[in-house]
């Protein structure tokens, strides 16, 4: 049994600096945050607030300049590239604004991709990818290539790919940024379903009507957390 209050992400004093010429940019100036399993969080903030940097760190695409990051019980702040790749493969499912599907591969192959790098045999891979596509209602589009699918369908393929390895968190970066409002609503409905089924979701957005779908909104400003706004009962806010 999963503990209901199990903490899946914990950051302490997370900092990230970039050196640009003579200048040092403090993208994150010390972020402390906790995320429990099955939370649905939106990260908001104006551009330059550090939300992309935070997202990259949470997604293990990058390592912090200093501070700690414990993901699902494992400190990951000092891991090497290849170890981070393994963590991304197992713990994190990405959904991007621009979908980021392989253009020449079928929907099925796109969804299989994380399983290929996990070293899963092709039969099992195939079955899992089919199941993930059916979960987003694309069971009949498995052999279509991205350019044969609508924007909403592409994003659902991306969601299927994010879910196929059963990750600890679904990390979505402006998932509706390239979609019209009707399709956006569809995608939000899919997210709600996943959340209801127990999926932890962290979503970066700047649209309020999208962040409204989340249980909690974390607002960043100048590399620091400005506010935690809890919307639902039983959800822990703040560190």
């Amino acid at each position: 049994m999963r503990q209901i209050n199990e903490i899946i992400i914990e950051t302490r004093g997370l900092k990230k600096q970039y050196v640009m010429g003579a200048e040092t940019i403090h993208a994150l100036a010390g972020v402390d945050m906790k995320v429990r399993r099955n939370e649905y969080i939106a990260i908001m903030g104006p551009s330059g607030s550090g939300k992309s940097t935070l997202m990259n760190l949470i997604g293990c695409l990058d390592t912090p300049s200093s501070g700690e990051y414990i993901l699902n019980g494992t400190p990951v702040q000092d891991l090497a590239d290849d170890e981070l790749a393994r963590i991304r493969n197992r713990e994190i499912g990405f959904v991007f604004q621009t979908f980021n599907l392989l253009p020449r591969a079928t929907a099925l192959h796109n969804v299989e991709l994380p399983l290929i790098y996990a070293g899963i045999p092709s039969k099992e891979r195939h079955a899992k990818a089919m199941a993930a596509l059916e979960r987003v209602d694309l069971g009949d589009r498995t052999h279509h290539k991205p350019n044969e699918l609508s924007g909403g369908q592409r994003q659902r393929v991306a969601i299927a790919r994010a879910l196929v390895n059963d990750p600890s968190i679904l990390l979505a970066d402006e998932p509706t940024g390239n979609l019209d409002s009707k399709t956006s609503a569809e995608i939000m409905a899919v997210f709600k379903e996943l959340h209801d089924a127990g999926q932890t979701i962290i979503m970066v957005t700047h649209e309020h009507d999208i962040s409204d779908h989340a249980e909690r909104v974390v607002t960043l400003r100048d590399g620091l957390i400005e506010s935690h706004d809890a919307r639902a009962d039983g959800v822990y806010a703040g560190a």
Partner: protein, 414 residues
Amino acid sequence: MYLLEGIRLALQQVWAHKLKSAFTLIGVIIGIMFLIAVITIVEGMNRYVQEDFAGSLFGVNTFSVVRRSNIETGEESSERRRRQARNPYLTMHDVETVRRAVPDAWRFAYSDDRYFPRVSFEDRSRRNVRIVGGSEDYETLQGWEVEQGRGLSPLDERRGLPVAVIGQEIAQKLFPDETPLGKRIRLGPRRFEVVGVWEKQGGLLGNIRDASILIPFSVYRQSFSRNPNRVGSISVKMRTAEEMDVAMSEVEAALRTDRQLRPGEENNFWLETSSELLDVWDRITKILFAAIPGLVSISLIVGGIVIMNIMLLSVAGRIREIGIRKAVGARRRDILIQFLAESSTLSLVGAAIGVLLGVGLGKGVQAFTPLPASVPPWAIGVALVLGLGVGVASGIYPAYRAAKQDPIVALRYE
């Protein structure tokens, strides 16, 4: 897993851009094609020389005494060739010396030959023919077979009859639509009755017989020889190789004694065998095989550079793909292997095409020349390994560039 993925992607790529792939792979294709074609032709020549040519020119277990070596090996000093040029011409006296030295010879013959400007019949003629004056047994010793009519007989020789056996080329030229048998052909002021036609010899190196006219030695001596006592070569055929070795030393000793050469003094005659010719051929083959690596490696290096450039372009065009793969869990080595597999597959496809074209070229040579094309399996193995090597070597740098992409940058790449 990603190895298969790389191979699949590469094949897709090759298939989707056939023309571009052809240009990409042209260096490798040409290099490998050249390699296979040269090996095929050299192997074919090898077999031809060993099986047909040497045998037809000299016969098996046969050796000849000549004034000087006909075969230039390129290793002899010009000094030695000058010394050989001072050797006395062979004479009928030498014929008797050799005959006495090998009383148990299976076949024994002597001959002389020269080029003659023209042979004609009525208003047709052929230029540049070789007239051979051959003693009894000459044709048997050479292994020449008649196709029509008969060969020379002992009677022709003894009576000095003006008869001739002609080669195929001459027969076709002078008698395009009638039988040559019984016709009288003209060589200078003399006329000869054609009594037979040789079988076609064909052959790339050895079609001497097809343009030859064999007449009795006695007739040759009277009509064509510059010096009636002169003999071109004395040939001895034994039954086995061992017998031949013994006979050769006996002939050498007899000639040295007869010519009163002191011990240590060099022979002033030359003993020629087919194995000597084969030695020369061996040397030519070795030179050819030594030249292949240089020529082939140049085109393979060029081919490798082209593949490397195409792979660099391919990496540059797929930065985002690399980002996606990294985001979903590809490690550096996964990306590295993927691109290496791709360049290797690409190059292997080129090598395979090169092998096919090379074999085709060899078969073409076989179809248009008498050389048997022979593709040794090891050559195909070498070609494919080379192709793979070029692929890996030219893929390393592009694959490394791909593998070290930062996923964050790569994902945002437009």
